[in-house]
Amino acid sequence: MSKENLILQSISKRFGAVHALDNFDLEVKVGELVALLGPSGCGKTTALRVVAGLERQDSGAVKLGGRDITNLPAHLRNMGMVFQAYSLFPNLSVEENVAFGLQMRKVNKRDRQKKAGELLELVGLNTQHKRFPHQLSGGQQQRVALARALAFEPEILLLDEPLSALDAQVRSNLREEIRRLQLSLGTTALFVTHDQEEAMAISDRVGVMSHGKLEQIASPDSLYNNPATEFVAGFVGVMNYIPGYQNGKSVSILGSDFKVKNSSGHQGATSALVRPESITVVAKENSSNAVVVTRSFLGASSRILCKTLDGTLIQALVPSEESSELIPGAKVQVKISANEVLVS
């Protein structure tokens, strides 16, 4: 299994006029699961394909520990990959699919079967080893693909949106399974997704990408609570953009002053970035500053969409037991409970 860090140094890649990767740097530590998160076209899949050797970068270097593997062909990189589309070989049985990488490494048949059996047991498909891919459900096929990618003990496990073709329930189960396997085998993994929930749920660190660059890489908590840029703040989780007036290090919104986290000393109109859970909504007939537009029950909490007097829409997340009066049309007082806010 992997014993060395994966390093991408100043990788650039263009597709015609499009800059898929622009001086992209990344380091994935041993045993870590790093997710690359970003909107379509941000370059996350290209980065993964460069690591796999399936895409050739225009410049920059890929290193695995001290070794420069920039020019190493894909089949010699020893990296297991799980693709978005079910990529099982339709002419091979489940067992043969899992053992494929071992066959390529000239492992004898008995050892191949033994290892494939172990992996299939790990993914809970040991009774399906003689079946063919078309006889399996989507979730089962991706489990087999995962077993195939892990069977030859790759130095890095690469996951290219492996859950996006699955339905919600299977997706949720399989993502936990990926994490469980990655932790138990100690495999270093790079996981590409456009689904922030997926990335935040199972990753040690999440790298948010935009326009071929890494905007921020941090732990899920840190990314959510301390986004480094407006793009990260907007992309990770739900964010309200509330108009206000900035006066250097403070900003005035909804009639109160707050410290600015990312102060640039700007003076004038601005937008404050506030998470829904940092907003309180209380039903008040007399001193109201907003009206409830919709209320969505989510279980323990409810999402309340309010419209302020100046027409700004604000989303708040309130405990469901405190939201019974917050029905559409109710006059409410919206307040911000945070001490510090980001401004755009």
Binding site: M81, S87, L88, F89, N91, R105, H134
Partner: protein, 256 residues
């Protein structure tokens, strides 16, 4: 099977098949078992054919040349088409068009071209024929493989194979070829059938193969020549069936 309105196309297809394939074949067979002037039917034309000393020589020669043509076709076309499909190259349309040229260029032009461009050592060997047969079979072989490759998720499969440790060659041989097995079998069938029956180019280049020998024999014994042709029809059929049987039958269905 329901007999009704819906089966009309099937019935028409079967009738057309009967009119254009079964009737001529049946007529040829009927002709081949005639006893000639004596009248009646018998197998003496077939017995005469297999006793002819050149029969096996030319049959083996043509079979061998056709097998080499099939090999050349697969070795050249499978990697080329795989590359074309994977690269999404703009050259694809050009190559598509070029592959049709053998249908419109007269065979005599190829024969003259071969005489002019092939080196002397190739021109002096019968092995020049497979290369020319390959060109004649190209429009059919190209299309058969093209359809097979279009029907599979080629990029994902080849990348999955490569990331699991397979070189390009192994990815093609172990993964791609078995997945497009029916297209490969069709390519082999079309190329083999066209090669083993090729006459014009062979005559123009002054080589003797099974079809030219049959024409020669027909000058003296027409019924015998027809019997030989009937036997020759069976050869590609048997060989193609063997190819289909020897390729391991596994349940190949595209994942969705």
């Amino acid at each position: 099977m329901k007999l009704g309105k819906l089966n009309l196309p099937l019935i028409i297809t079967l009738l057309l098949f009967g009119a254009f394939v079964v009737i001529p074949m049946g007529s040829a067979f009927e002709y081949s078992i005639r006893r000639g002037l004596e009248g009646g039917y018998g197998l003496q034309n077939y017995l005469w054919a297999v006793r002819e000393e050149d029969f096996s020589y030319y049959l083996i020669r043509s079979t061998w040349l056709s097998a080499v043509t099939v090999l050349i076709t697969l070795v050249i076309l499978v990697p080329t088409l795989t590359w074309i499909h994977l690269s999404n190259s703009k050259l694809r349309e050009l190559i598509d068009g070029l592959s049709l040229l053998p249908l419109v260029i007269p065979v005599v032009a190829f024969a003259v071209g071969a005489q002019i461009s092939f080196p002397e050592f190739i021109q002096s060997s019968v092995m020049e024929l497979p290369f020319l047969y390959f060109i004649l079979a190209l429009p059919y072989a190209y299309r058969a493989l093209d359809i097979g490759l279009k029907a599979i998720p080629l990029k994902t499969l080849s990348e999955a194979a490569r990331s699991a440790g397979a070189s390009w060659l192994r990815a093609i041989v172990i993964v791609i070829l078995p997945v497009i097995r029916s297209a490969v079998t069709a390519t082999i069938a079309l190329t083999f059938a066209l090669s083993i029956g090729e006459f014009t180019m062979t005559v123009l280049l002054h080589w003797d193969t099974f079809p030219t020998w049959v024409t020669y024999v027909a000058q003296d014994n027409l019924l015998g020549a027809i019997a030989i042709s009937m036997i020759a029809l069976l050869v590609p059929f048997v060989l193609i069936s063997l190819v289909a049987l020897l390729t391991p039958e596994k349940e190949i269905k595209e994942s969705n």
